[in-house]
């Protein structure tokens, strides 16, 4: 059961504001989805099943080289006065 409080908690840890409409309809929708993925509980598994992780050898990693990015292009994505803006500190 997903209550409105559960939803508000999930939204808070996900850093997402929800609209009133979403706060109303999401609990039921999310509950249906979780009920659906709950099918996974019927699957019998134990610790012998590996997670199929792909390992990359250290030697295969690329060299840590500096590559220049295009500053003019980069500036298009930040504020009009050319700065990055962050949250205000107390």
């Amino acid at each position: 059961m997903i209550s409105r409080e559960d939803l508000e908690h999930l939204a808070q840890i996900s850093r997402i504001n929800l609209t009133e409409n979403e706060l109303d309809k999401f609990p039921k929708q999310l509950e249906k989805t979780i009920k659906y993925i709950d099918i996974l509980q019927q699957l019998a598994t134990d610790d012998s099943v590996s997670l199929d992780l792909q390992e990359v050898e250290f030697e295969e990693l690329r060299k840590d080289e500096i590559r220049m990015s295009d500053e003019k292009q980069l500036a298009k994505n930040i504020t009009e006065d050319g700065f990055l803006r962050g949250p205000k500190m107390k």
Binding site: S14, I39, L40, Q42, R85
Partner: protein, 481 residues
């Protein structure tokens, strides 16, 4: 000669090389086609016709001066708008990125440009690739060129529709749980999800990075092979990419052992199943064996997919923090948390739902119950499929269990929408290659056949698809637009 805007990619390259027309002629014809059909179909989010025309002129100049023009010279390409293009707005169909201009090209874009391809613009998708209809695009939905009242499939719906409608010669899409194959099936074009690792993901804006691959959407197998070979290979900027051998167009079909997957057929609409059975008969006629098999773990594939995709989405989309990407809000009294939360309100509903589900399945207490279980299913499914591929070269079934449906039909019920992906997620979970190719119509709506192969056995997919394409006669261009 075929009309210019009907040409396939390899015919464009031939025509240019032989001097039958110029690149500018061709690109101008395609732009006229876009002007005619785009108001009905809405495939593009951003068009770059000026850029396309100037690239065409450069190619014409190179031809005049007998310089090398590249293997895709003059071919117009539409790019799904979640693949980074330097200096061309890349939105992921999200409001969060409505003013985002990448500073670099994705590796696949670099390869296309180096080979003379002409970029026409950026194609519509469901926001961040999350959806199966393009109805979750934050701009507008794309319409199915075969019947404008119906969805084109998704999430690469813009790519499928643009290729079907002749708005570009070929397109690139991306496939996380069927996003190339679903619109290919619904729009009656051919689309391939490569083996995980065959194509570099550098510059593909991540949604669920352990599942997704970039791949081509085309109107013929020859075009598809040409595109695939150009975008494949090891890329130092994507550690999961690996070297691969180029694919060739087969001279003759070696006898292949094919198996239809029982569960995929029984779960499908009658009309869809009929088309798939008739395709398997065609395979028999051209000398392949065709049996029926079951995949035991299929029942768990979709719940496992939505667990993993949502978990990865919740962490991948954490980067939209209103600092590097977001809006230029006035300096306010924003507290630390609200600074992030306010801007993230601008995600669409489906993106929010998946992030929330992702946070849920990764939460302490639920991690083992959902995420870990889903990971284990993924291993078991892959092992089961690899075992089947020891006996069979290819597994076949319908790409989509249903025909294209009307707008609004499933949008209010997330589970109904998720269920349409049931046949396609298998290949993403197992990391294997899968193709969708057009095999029929029912009431004017397209049906696609899905063929899956063992990892890096794309050649077998192509061998079978090329032969089937020859014997199945499908109208290539919708008359409705």
């Amino acid at each position: 000669m075929t009309k210019l805007d009907d040409l396939l990619a390899y015919e464009v390259v031939e025509g240019l090389t032989e001097g039958q027309f110029t690149a500018e002629d061709y690109v101008t014809t395609i732009i006229k086609r876009i002007e005619k059909v785009e108001p009905k179909v809405h495939s593009f989010i951003t068009l770059d016709t000026d850029g396309a025309l100037s690239s065409a002129k450069i190619i014409d100049k190179k031809i005049k001066e007998k310089e090398d023009i590249g293997q895709l010279a003059g071919v117009t390409v539409g790019i799904k708008d979640n693949i980074s293009t330097r200096g061309i707005r890349t939105t992921c169909a999200s409001k969060i990125l409505e003013n985002y201009f990448p500073t670099y090209d994705a590796t696949v874009i670099k390869s296309l440009k180096e080979n003379g391809a002409i970029l026409l613009g950026k194609l519509n998708l469901d926001e961040f690739g999350m959806g199966s209809t393009t109805e979750y695009s934050r701009y507008q939905p794309t319409r199915n060129p075969w019947n404008l009242d119906y969805v084109p499939g998704g999430s690469s719906g813009g790519s499928g529709a643009a290729v079907a409608a002749g708005e570009c010669t070929v397109a690139l899409g991306s496939d996380t749980g069927g996003s190339i194959r679903c619109p290919s099936s619904f729009c009656s074009v051919t689309g391939l999800k490569p083996t995980y690792g065959r194509v570099s993901r550098y510059g593909l804006i991540s949604y669920a990075n352990s599942l997704e691959q970039i791949g081509p959407i085309c109107r013929s197998i020859r075009d598809l092979v040409m595109m695939l070979n150009l975008i494949s290979g090891k890329d130092a900027l994507d550690n999961t990419s690996v070297p691969s051998t180029p694919i060739s167009i087969p001279n003759k079909l070696n006898k292949l052992n094919i198996a239809t997957v029982r569960e995929l057929i029984t779960g499908s609409d009658e009309e869809v199943a009929k088309s798939i059975y008739s395709a398997s008969e065609k395979f028999k006629e051209i000398g392949c064996s065709c049996e029926e098999v079951s995949i035991n773990n299929l029942h768990y594939a979709l719940p496992s997919y939505y667990t993993l995709a949502s978990a990865e989405a919740s962490s991948n989309l954490a980067r939209y923090d209103n600092i590097r990407y977001g809006f230029d809000y006035p300096i306010g009294e924003y507290k630390w948390d609200t600074y992030f939360s306010n801007v993230r309100e601008n995600f669409g509903e489906e993106v929010k739902r998946r992030i929330l589900i992702g946070s849920y399945v990764l939460s302490s207490g639920y991690y083992g119950k959902y995420y870990l279980k889903a990971r284990k299913l993924r291993s078991l499914l892959r092992l089961e499929l690899l075992e089947l591929f020891k006996k069979y070269d290819l597994l076949i079934g319908p790409t989509m269990p249903i025909l294209p449906f009307k707008f609004g039909e499933k949008i209010d019920d997330p589970i109904k929408m998720y269920l349409v992906d049931i046949n396609t997620v298998i290949a993403n979970l197992a990391g294997i290659p899968a193709i969708s190719l057009p095999v029929g119509f029912s009431n004017g709506l397209p049906i696609g056949l899905q063929i899956m192969a063992a990892p890096f056995e794309e050649q077998k997919l192509i061998d079978a698809s090329y032969e089937l394409e020859k014997v199945i006669n499908i109208p290539r261009r919708p008359n409705s637009i």
